[in-house]
Amino acid sequence: MAGVEIRDVRKAFGKTPVIHGVDIDIADGEFVVLVGPSGCGKSTLLRMIAGLEQITGGEIAIGGRVVNMVPPKERDVAMVFQNYALYPHMTVYDNMAFSLKLRRAPKSLVDERVRRAADILNLGEYLERYPRQLSGGQRQRVAMGRAIVRDPQVFLFDEPLSNLDAKLRVQMRTEIKELHQRLRTTTVYVTHDQIEAMTMADRIVVMHDGLVEQIGQPLDLYDEPNNLFVAGFIGSPAMNFIEGTLRRNGAAAAVEIGDGTRLPAPPVNGHADGAKVVYGIRPEHFAYGNNGGGLNAEVVVVEPTGTEIQVMSKLAGQDICAVFRERHDLTPGQTLGLSPALDKVHLFDAATGQHLRPPPST
């Protein structure tokens, strides 16, 4: 096993740069998820670690060895592809044994490794089947089995769950996480699904337009996003963003929006009265107050999910989503009182998108 170091890595296809210098340090045994919208360069980065793409600039090191010029088969990595890439003309057993057979490993070792992997993944009874005879989840497991058999230094997963249906995806998510807890192999996992990232990762790398926006533990990203992009990308339903103007009154602050309504805001550092800001608050951080307290929003749509109710509403012409654990009786058109939890409010610079940190507490 080994860590992976990515130092100022750049990638250009022809003259089009797609990754503009990325630094990530992945510790030995860590489960790191690269997440971002499509086209952000996360898959390209993974393929560079695997050796399927040339590295245009910078360095990638696996286990301390710079691998820029090392061919894929000598990097000792295993990859699980989005479409599984199982060899259709080989049985499950042969699919898993292929890499070992290519290295002329002794038959007994191949057999032992394949059966062990099949055991771990509950594939024992399917070893003689062909990929076409398996369900999506089983194929996914064979693809993982093929990786496990190698006993590589690093596992690479390229959106492995996106071809599965929703229920199976949740189940496989758990299985992959469990597998990692059991094998403790360094894992780099690419997904565009922030829920997968949140639930599986030790650390998440949020990427956007070929740059790293933020690296951190899932809950840290959730609680303390560095910028508007991370704040909007992590969390579902997404954080509410309301554009407004900062109004300072000594240490206290508020954000004035379109119709003059003032939203209570936490104290901020530096920014002057009148600065353009974005007021961000997650849907679950509103307190329900129907007796005139808080901000008055007009209910538009009510969506009960059983565990909670999501309320889409309008506040001074802006869409606001709120989530309540309690079952309130709400009807469209009704006025709803929303009280933002002050310590959960995030303020962002409207121009740069950066988070405005509160002044250091004294």
């Binding site: 050796g51 990859m79 060899y87 259709p88 290519l102 062909y130 990929p131 076409r132 005879q133 093929r146």
Partner: protein, 316 residues
């Protein structure tokens, strides 16, 4: 309460029967099938049946024959020229098919790589296939000409030979020459079809194999070749059938000569039946090809059987 159908039945029983017949799938299917069936009967079954019938008669041009049983075949069995043509046909088919397959496959793999002017180069590769056979045969005829052969001329200029090569005048040279011409014509078909097959193999399989540690040869051996076998079976069956029954190229270049060295069964059949007037005997030579052709078709039938790994659900 009567259903709608029942009420219609009461209203118009005669019309109802007609509607039912019109909507019957088998009835409709029969009519849709009829044009195709008529075509096959008229242009395939009739000539084939007539040919087989003629092979059992002593028909000549201008004289209706009578049924003579297997006499034509018995006669042919003693005819060394017939056996020479059988030998030639096999030599021609086997050598040409093997080389067409090897070179065609190689060309397909080359064309499958990314390269500049890819579409243009692929189009050029098809050229020998597009040019009418007789036209290319005449071109080859000139290339192989005893006096004006460009090959002889070039080799002489290079100082490699002192006198012109007698391409079509010497039996083995002639065989090699017509086989070469056939290969030249046949490669595009094999190459383009196999290229289409190559493009159906997902790139991710090669990526997976790369990470699994396969060399280029191992990828060919363990991925490309096994995944292409169904298409190879189809292409090679067709290629063998076309080559076995070849007529135009030989007839335009050598007419079977010299001393019958390039006579194939098809050309011999034509010579005996049309030029010689012995329709019955010529038909017998053609009929004698049928068992070999059936053999080739059986081969493709078994080659085309779905392999185990192709059965079951689609993989996406």
């Amino acid at each position: 309460m009567a259903t709608i159908a029942e009420r219609e039945e009461v209203a118009a029983p005669a019309a109802w029967h007609w509607t039912r017949v019109r909507n019957n799938r088998n009835f409709l299917g029969f009519w849709f099938m009829l044009p195709a069936a008529a075509f096959l009967l008229l242009f395939l079954t009739y000539p084939l049946g007539l040919g087989i019938w003629l092979s059992f008669t002593d028909t000549r041009i201008g004289r209706d024959g009578v049924f003579i049983g297997l006499e034509n075949f018995v006669w042919l069995a003693d005819d060394p020229v017939f056996w020479l043509s059988v030998f030639n046909t096999f030599l021609y088919t086997i050598v040409a098919s093997v080389i067409k397959f090897a070179l065609g496959f190689y060309l397909a793999i080359l064309l499958n790589n990314h390269m500049p002017f890819k579409a243009f180069i692929r189009a050029i590769v098809l050229l020998p296939f597009i040019v009418p056979t007789v036209l290319s045969a005449i071109a080859f005829w000139w290339i192989y000409d005893t006096q004006f052969s460009i090959i002889s001329w070039s080799l002489t200029k290079l100082g490699l030979i002192t006198e012109n090569i007698n391409f079509l005048g010497e039996p083995n040279n002639a065989r090699a020459s017509v086989i070469f011409a056939n290969i030249w014509r046949g490669i595009p078909f094999v190459a383009i079809t196999l290229l289409a097959g190559l493009q159906t193999i997902p790139a991710s399989l090669y990526e997976a194999a790369t990470i699994d540690g396969a060399s280029r040869w191992q990828m060919f051996r363990h991925i490309t070749y096994p995944m292409l076998t169904p298409i190879i079976a189809v292409v090679m069956t067709f290629s063998v059938l076309f080559t076995f029954t070849d007529f135009q190229l030989i007839y335009a270049m050598t007419r079977g000569g010299p001393i019958n060295a390039t006579h194939l069964m098809a050309t011999l059949s034509f010579q005996r039946a049309i030029l010689g007037g012995n329709l019955g005997e010529g038909a017998a030579i053609s009929t004698a090809m049928i068992p070999f052709l059936l053999g080739a078709i059986m081969f493709s039938w078994f080659g085309l059987q779905k392999r185990k790994w192709q059965q079951g659900e689609a993989d996406d």
